[in-house]
Symmetry: D2
Subunit: 358 residues, 4 copies
């Protein structure tokens, strides 16, 4: 205990502090600098997870742990070393590798939490979202917004793995979650190459006249790799032609958006894809809010709080709030990113710092 | 003159009415029912223009009237018979056929008025919007939002014709227009198949990270026929599969939207494309606000205030405010439509009536 | 007729122009500069109406013309000399003096058009809006948003006059109006000093928990003089204390707003109140959109397109779009203003020019 | 450890679980039901704090602990018994009693966190917000939105106590906070009865023309008791007259709002005031999100998860997420409430349950 001015405690003071606790109170002055730091001082730490290790342990789980009702998913969460006792990548973000063996099914359920999957390799699984089977293929982003029923089934003999992203830590912390079990099997076992929601919504600049309302979450559940790849390639080609198109020299990027608003795909989660030319690097950035990145293709380095980390395909890393980061591309470097940007923006806490900026 | 109760005028009353005029005033009670009718009572009338006639007269204009600075465009406006002395399709909408001979150029200018072009046939012209050459091909919608420089040049030996849509009547009426001359030639004579704005923006559900602000008008200047056609075909296919997708049975439709908002492409103009299956028809609708339609392909009938009008490819018709209309498709019937819907919506005057609705 | 390049007409050209008309078309090139001027070139002209003249003719109308069903209101509209044949103050705005004799009633009706009243002098009339009697007193702004039933009754032996503002010209031009007759007498003849809507809504920064939705129009129907007067006095007092509060030196002003949005009171009409200190003047402004002003108290001068007009209490003047205006206050000068600002803003046509600005 | 189907662990499984931890991962299936409960299952518990105890310990703190730079405030936080080791009222909300002796000053600082004060009794302190001295009086709500400098000084010989509300727990959890020290003394020691922001903004339905932008937080920093009291009294009077005005029979309530938007006063915190007639009660409600209530005046009972708690003036209680609550008024019962409603709403997690609703 200490007084505000740092002088020693008297018996009266000791008694006072005891009495605080006795009536379920606690003084601000002993904890102000911890609770309200000069700048964000996260417990979560920067960390890199290696895809080979993740995939290997997921494969072993596939052999040892059946998927089914109750546990619901064979998903292995990234557990930030700074947040012991949890499987949280950051205070707001959950990220897991999910593994589904040949002909396995992850049963249907729905929850208030928002979720997506991003596919680093493989294909053959369909995620069925509110009864609409959505093929999962390399490079695709697949959404399951809050309170949409969803299950996954593997239509092949081969296992498949991908990453899941959810707002579970934030939802758990703020006590907003609801959960409901659905069918043990997926409600539509068809395996169409294109889902119905894509057929309605994946047309650039067009929307169905039967669906004119703004939606809280995107009605488009699949963002296909061929579109992402082309958008990034065009940005770099435009840059070559001397046109403004990239974030900064050699750094192309897109944000996945809700076509009914132009804003983020889900109310709590932002998703982006970044491409750096071989040899390009980004300036050191500080951003409020936390991110998870996955290398999709290529090799390079990420500097996290000044420390260099080599990156290979599939590697995942987290950038806690206000942790300085920058990327250096050895080869062309493709990365998927998701973060809690919509939360930070809507609550009015957005700040970014780039050295050299006012 | 009449009193409010219809009794005859006295000398004092006659004097009073003279005195109204003398001090630039006018009584409401003699004109209330005209000014404020029980339901919209437009002066504009329903009317059909035949594409063959329009194209023929445009071709003759091409021979007789050079295009150039001052007149600016070889555009022939639809002049609603109910609005004599103007070239207005409706009180808010301008619609013209524009014709550009082989290797001709319509000089660059910009204006506060919003404009678009829709192409019913042909190709070979590039519209250059703020320096970005945009190819014009059959079925495409091309935007030139307010205060964007634009000119057109024909890169071929063949003439080309299309329709222009603008908010000129509304802008003129409300005194909001500005105009500025630009280059006499287009500022970029390249003829790329795809414009730079498309390369940045025409990716479904993706937006460049370098462009995150909402825009008043769409940053996408070209909506290509292949996307429109596919979107409509998918709606009908989904309907065949028993899924909700169409506006009503046999009636597919899309709205062209601003990808930064999901809303209308420009602040004063709404654009849509409709497809009816052969044999389908729509219920009779009354809508506040006026529309211009063009048949893109197919044959059918439009009922306008109860009167049947046969429709062929290219025919244009207007539906004044609150005029009942319905469509009947003989063959598959494809139609482009534009209207003042964003104006009506934003000013709070939206109403629709379908028989049988409460 | 003329060609785009000004050369003389040939017989073929004469025939062409005849044929344009025959098929209800009209060429753009002969009218482009008129339809699309370099800057707004309104037909409406700046004009001043004298309150004494208006009141006198209203009084004579009170003697000669009964108020009642059909004509509905004893309202005498300002007829802009530049817009002959109409009773329009500007292309978008209607403004009238309304006069109601002792114990007279103006029957109830409702219409899609938005309306308000502003009281320059007197009291004793209640306007009953959707059954809620609203006292009208000097300096008050009273709303009757679109499709709200309203009637007026004079509870005293004395006549009362005020001004009405409506969007009738715009509504008529765009064909959006609906009208419905209501009770011939007001549905609540009580004469409370404060209306129910004020009791719910006129508390600064507070809203009823039972009414949390955004409203297209303000739910507050009365903006009382004592609040307006105090707000303006405080701005000038703050200015005296060296604080930012006024629009510019010596020029205080408030905008009336919808408490559910902070935006304009109605979707088509903006209302403001301005106060200039004695001796103050405003820089010359050009604004897109048209305004009507009324002097509430004091004397001064308005420059309209360079011409000086002396102003006294009650005088009304219009400022057409882009017409330069400035005010000079002899005494403290209080003015009410309304305009079509929400229309101009929402349709993306807003521009303001102040000399010396970039 | 357990498998998804509950069978016993094998050595391979034990090894697998060890290996999860070794590479900073953690399986979902062992924790899914805890992380993603069927309905919110907060660790925070319902709890009541007694004003007399709080005030007494604050007074003792006033004698023993000086206020000053570093500790910054003599504020004693409510520490939810379900959240040991923190001084959090709920996972998102901080609430403290703050005590300032005669002529004491709490130094100026600013932080990203949003804050307010609510005054249950006393007066004589001015909180100086961005240099603007704001008097604090019984029944007032005073805002200090994020990144506004603020300090407090007591202008009298008497101590004063009030409650502070902040989003500290949420801000700390999500790592969004910044902090900056300011002047050790308040930058303006004047003691005006009304602050400058009130003089600009506290006029119902009026806003300064010099301040037309939407603000993330309210520009009005003081919500005075006389307005709140009158608004509630009017709602009950209207209810007596048979008019819709209250939330439900005998239950009047207002929400404090940002006059530039009509929405919540700050982006993370909602504030309301409720009044129940003597004898009235509210139905049992479940709400997503957590609240803190304080009795302002009167006596009654709050049922929290079925348990009755007697309430007296000044008592504070928390309602964790989805905890059923209802109020019963013995006398007229006035209560202040704040919660994380804007967070829940903006992130799309809003749900309310009232028995008998679908």
């Amino acid at each position: 205990m200490k007084q505000m001015d740092g002088t020693a405690d008297t018996p009266e003071l000791v008694q006072l502090y005891d009495d605080f606790a006795a009536i379920s109170t606690s003084p601000l002055w002993t904890q102000r600098d911890d609770l309200m730091p000069m700048a964000p001082s996260p417990k979560a730490v920067p960390h890199v997870w290696r895809w080979k290790q993740l995939f290997d342990i997921a494969e072993r789980s596939g052999e040892l742990v059946p998927v089914g009702r109750g546990g619901e998913r064979r998903a292995i969460g990234l557990a930030n070393p700074g947040l012991p006792g949890t499987a949280y990548a950051t205070p707001t973000l959950w990220c897991a590798i999910q593994y589904l063996g040949g002909h396995e099914t992850a049963p249907e359920h729905r929850h208030a939490q928002n979720a997506f999957r991003f596919v680093i390799e493989g294909e053959g699984v369909w995620t069925v979202v509110n009864g609409d089977p959505v093929a999962m293929r390399r490079g695709d982003l697949l959404l399951t917004p809050g309170w949409h029923f969803h299950g996954h089934h593997n239509d092949t003999d081969q296992p498949m793995a991908w990453i899941d992203g959810l707002d579970v830590p934030l939802s758990h912390y703020t006590d907003v979650g609801f959960f409901e079990f659905g069918s043990e099997r997926v409600t539509d076992e068809a395996s169409p190459p294109v889902s119905r929601n894509e057929r309605l919504w994946a047309h650039p600049g067009l929307r169905p006249l039967s669906e004119l309302e703004q939606r809280v979450s995107s009605p488009l559940m699949a963002y296909r790799w061929e579109h992402t790849d082309r958008a990034l390639a065009e940005q770099l080609a435009l840059e070559d032609e001397g046109q403004p198109a990239t974030v900064e020299q050699g750094h192309a990027a897109i944000r996945y958006v809700n076509p009914t608003t132009g804003g983020d795909v889900m109310p709590t989660l932002r998703a982006e894809f970044h491409r750096l030319r071989a040899g390009a690097s980004t300036p050191v950035r500080h951003e409020v809010g936390s991110s998870v990145w996955q290398v999709f293709e290529g090799t390079g380095v990420v500097l996290l709080a000044g420390e260099e980390n080599q990156l290979e395909k599939g590697d995942l890393f987290v950038v806690p709030s206000w942790t300085p980061w920058s990327l250096v591309a050895d080869s062309q470097l493709d990365l998927f990113r998701f973060n809690d940007g919509p939360v930070i923006d809507k609550l009015g806490f957005t700040r970014t710092y780039l050295p050299g900026q006012a």
